[in-house]
């Protein structure tokens, strides 16, 4: 596109008034704006959260995408039916499931092991979308730390313990006692 293209709409700079051309009012305006911000922040009116002491507030913790949890049903069993839908949907390939014959009557399979590599995870929430029995959910836990890479690979027990930690504050998105989808 050339500079004289008729389709270009040129926006002229507005002409400064006489105070503006003396540079006086723009300078005073600029100083006033910054001083107002100074006093605003000096009064303590900032967005900063003093993190370890203060916890940030979420708009809605139920839709925040933090650490995963594996939901339990009414009987305390893992809801997962080892259908591999989440592992298939996962764009980061961070979910590793080993399914086996379920010991219970209400489903065919259950996960013998269910491992999420939290370091590979991109927290997109696709696993949660894909799950047919709402067994995997993303919680609002965000301050995830570990001293080694191995520590950040969460197994089934760890993911179920996240459920125990967060269930009081964040109820399951769908009710329903059993993995068969009864009432789900």
């Amino acid at each position: 596109m050339q500079a004289n293209d008729p389709n270009i709409q040129w926006v002229e700079e507005p002409q400064l008034g006489w105070t503006g051309r003396m540079y006086l009012t723009p300078i005073i305006d600029g100083l006033t704006i910054t001083l107002n911000h100074f006093f605003k922040a000096a009064r303590g009116d900032t967005f900063t959260v003093q993190f370890p002491e203060e916890r940030p507030k979420f708009g809605n913790p139920l839709i925040y995408r933090g650490v995963h949890r594996l939901n339990k049903d009414d009987e305390g069993r893992v809801k997962c039916v080892a259908c591999f839908m989440c592992a298939t949907a996962c764009p980061a390939h961070c979910i590793d499931i080993v399914g086996t014959q379920a010991p219970w009557e209400d489903r065919e399979k259950y996960p013998q092991s269910f491992v999420i590599d939290e370091l590979r995870c991109i927290f997109c929430g696709m696993c949660e979308e894909a799950c047919p029995v709402d067994a995997i959910e993303l919680t609002s836990m965000f301050d995830l730390t570990g001293a080694s890479r191995e520590e950040m690979i969460f197994d089934k027990e760890k993911l179920l313990s996240v459920f125990d930690q967060t269930i009081a504050a964040e109820p399951m998105k769908s009710k329903g006692g059993h993995a068969t989808g009864k009432g789900a």
Binding site: A3, W10, E12, R21, I27, G30, F38, T46
Partner: protein, 389 residues
Amino acid sequence: MFSQDWIEPLIKMAVVIGAIQGAVAYLVLAERRAAAFFQDRVGPNRVGPFGLLQPIADGLKFILKEELIPSGAHKPIFLLAPVMILASATLAFATVPVGYYFPAILGLKAPIAMTIAPGMDIGLLFVLAVSSLGVYGVILGGWASNSKYSFLGGLRSSAQLVSYELPLGLSLIGAILLSGSLRMETIMDAQATSGWWWVMLQPLGFAVFLISGFAEAARLPFDLPECEQELVAGYHTEYTAMKFGMFAMAEYMHMITVAFLAVIIYFGGWHLWYVAPYVEADQVTLIGALLRIGILQGKVLVLVFFFMWVRWSFPRFRYDQLMSIGWKIMIPLGLVNLLASAISQEFLAQDAYLAKAVVSWAVLAACFVYGMLNVNPQGAPSQHALAKV
């Protein structure tokens, strides 16, 4: 043997050097807090109550960090440069008064002048001369680093410092004419006895002084020596640990020097109407002396806050704009101010302060009107105008 004559300057030196170094450390903290507030942040508040131990943590970090010397650097000069810049910045305080007189109590012979070298007749000239020696540290550090960024930064910086020294000196001459002396104490006394601060009589001179002072201290909007986009960090790119800290300290000291000069020459120094009027040197009481020190330091702090405030209010100038402001605007304005003050000093009585004030404010207004009519604020032709060609 332990006479007041030579033990007194030693104590004053120790106090001034210690106070300046401590003030620099805490002004860095103040600047960081102020900068945070200007940006709606909180700033460093973790080390000690309100972050007050932060300077100690910073100092420890500076001292304990690894000192790197680039392999191609000219080692002696590389090591000398931070010393040069810090020494010249410190030396400038030798003639800067930090108060009025301290009364002759506790068996002292005479009132103590609050200056390391009191009664120096070339006081102001000394400060200007010595603080401009700092440019050696800049250019030597930039050159000895054997880095293109440092070298370009050093060149740029020295060009800027040399250019702005002229208007800085020119702008002060009006105030010197009014006081009739280069002695800093006399300049303050002249303002205190007349009851007029020279900023009221020299508005144009003060404006030129302040703008040149910003450039001389390399503060925003004139911090071209270390513009990070183009030059990484300017002339101290290759410096690490405490050597970098010395450059940073020297920059801060320059800012404090400019603030001291502005307060002493344009804002009456320790003088404040009714609170701290003029008294003879031997009439000062202990409370009066402390009050005058407090007033002077308070004014300096207000001015330092103004430096920080301006830093977050205006965008930086381009290098060509910097040079054209210096040579095409500041020097002519300084000359106009010099001419106007010389004429009013010659044809008006020494104590005709009101008439002199009227003359100088009229000159300032005339400069504004001239600038409004003749300076094109947009500078370059607009895009639309270019497109029509």
